[in-house]
């Protein structure tokens, strides 16, 4: 994570996400998947071919692509279908866009109720016998049972969570890096899924994004760094208030 300053002098914290060897693996049509839209399987970061099922290896072989560590599905409309085997780059996103980032949170193992659910526990003294971090009562007398989903100790973390509506501040096309506002679930250097935001406030935010995706062998020659309009670039002189 890094600080970033706007032209008005405000500081924001930014997370760097690297797009490492992403390829489109397979196209699943609407009828085949049974959903409302067709799907595209996308694979990230190259990994070892061992410890992967035969079915997974077949998909990679079909697409003509080295085996990937993470495979995700994206729901796509029919006009955004991409041929399997095309590489995806960071320039697919543009600065000023809003994005949702999904990843597995940091695993904390088996945790008690105070850390996992934020219960208050019991006082440290004044006669408490062996009860300082326990949940206390778990149900009422009238219910006669414990409801499903009762908050209790258990394994915490290591589940998929999403942070919504993160602004993209800057894109580095040479190293394929996306600078995304705020923090992102997961530990450092973990695998992450980045999607266009589903929030209704940012529905009309993308003005002319590269559609269906950014092709590297196309005619566009993008500069090495793409900045949002409000970012203070370090080549400018210091900020002054007129």
């Amino acid at each position: 994570m890094m600080p970033i300053w706007t032209k008005s002098g405000k500081k924001h914290a930014v997370t760097l996400l690297k797009v490492q060897d992403c390829h489109v693996l397979r196209y699943i049509s609407k009828e085949e998947s049974g959903g409302k839209t067709s799907k595209l399987l996308v694979g990230g970061k190259n990994g070892s071919p061992f410890f992967k099922s035969e079915a997974a290896m077949e998909i990679f072989k079909e697409a003509g692509v080295p085996p990937k560590q993470k495979v995700t599905t994206f729901n796509v409309t029919d006009d955004a279908i991409i041929k399997p085997g095309t590489p995806l780059y960071a320039a697919h996103f543009r600065p000023g866009q809003f994005v949702d980032v999904t990843a597995k949170t940091i695993g904390k193992g088996f945790q008690g109720v105070m850390k996992r659910w934020g219960f208050k526990g019991q006082p440290a003294s004044h006669g408490q016998t062996k009860t300082h971090r326990r949940p206390g009562a778990i149900s009422t007398n009238k219910a006669g049972k414990v409801y499903r989903g009762k908050k209790m100790p258990g394994k915490m973390g290591n589940i998929y969570r999403t942070s919504f509506g993160l602004k993209v501040w800057r894109i580095n096309t040479k190293h394929d890096i996306i600078y995304v506002n705020g923090s992102v679930p997961g530990h450092a250097n973990c695998l992450v899924k980045v999607k266009d935001s589903k929030l209704p406030t940012y529905k009309d935010c993308n003005k002319n994004p590269p559609f269906p995706t950014f092709f590297a062998d196309g005619d566009e020659n993008l500069p090495e760094d793409l900045y949002d309009e409000e970012i203070f670039q370090f080549t400018d002189p210091s900020v002054t208030y007129a």
Binding site: M2, H175, A188, F234, D236, S238
Partner: protein, 247 residues
């Protein structure tokens, strides 16, 4: 010609060779790498550090950040939307330099009208308009936080102080000042060996000093897991940074 004690003419002694002290070379040998370039210990992707360094060098090309240590007296002008001239000038002694990369900070302390004021500035913030070093002076410690509990005279500096001239090739002088403290209680127990403070004149009784030594951890300096040798990393980064800055 000179007559030696023997009476015979003395053998010709050539004059001693002049010793040329090349000031240019001395200046080049003195390398200073700002501490925020040195990466902290940990599993951080070198690409991230490289991109951060690129941004830092980019900023340094446009805005000059002088070489300074803890103990120097600096004057910083920042852009302030609520001030009269839209600028704000603050003079103070640097008590701490923290943070790595773009978020590097330094804290300046001064006593204005009997009120101690500390301001933490970010080195790479675009609001900073100028940093001038008024007095170059290293102190015995890396961290002068104990000035909060010292007598206020040691932290007062004139806001309109004139910069003290300093020649480029001379070494930065170390001020071996031993500071006198206010009576206890202090914000931190500075007599304890964990702070390793050398710049205080402790006027505490012998018993208290001996009791403070009970918290000493003499095994720490021999702990091999805590060793972090930065000499090679520093050299590589110094080469990279100096090449980029010369362009």
């Amino acid at each position: 010609c000179r007559i030696s004690s023997d009476g015979k003419p003395a053998k010709f002694q050539p004059p001693p060779k002049p010793v040329i002290i090349d000031k240019q070379k001395q200046r080049e040998e003195k390398r200073f790498l700002s501490p925020e370039f040195i990466p902290p210990r940990g599993r951080i992707d070198p690409l991230k550090l490289f991109l951060e360094r690129k941004d830092m060098i980019q900023r340094r090309k446009v805005f000059n950040i002088p070489e300074f240590y803890v103990g120097h007296i600096l004057a910083v002008t920042t852009a302030d939307p609520y001030a009269n001239n839209k600028t704000n000038r603050f003079v103070g002694i640097c008590i701490q330099r923290g943070g790595k990369g773009l978020g590097a900070t330094f804290v300046l302390r001064n006593v204005i009208e009997d009120q101690g004021v500390e301001i933490c500035y970010e080195l790479y913030s675009p609001r900073i308009q100028a940093i001038e070093v008024l007095k170059l002076e290293k102190r015995l410690d890396d961290n002068l936080m104990y000035l909060r509990d010292a007598l206020p005279e040691y932290s007062t500096f004139d806001m309109n102080m004139k910069p003290v001239s300093h020649l480029d090739h001379e070494e930065i002088p170390v001020n071996k000042l031993q500071v006198r403290m206010k009576p206890k209680p202090w914000s931190k127990r500075w007599e304890r060996p964990k702070y390793n403070v050398k710049g205080i004149k402790f006027e505490l009784p012998e018993g208290k000093m001996r009791e403070a030594q009970k918290w000493s951890q003499p095994w720490l300096e021999f702990d091999m897991m805590r060793e972090y040798d930065t000499s090679k990393i520093e050299e590589k980064i110094w080469k990279e940074v100096s090449e980029e800055l010369k362009k």
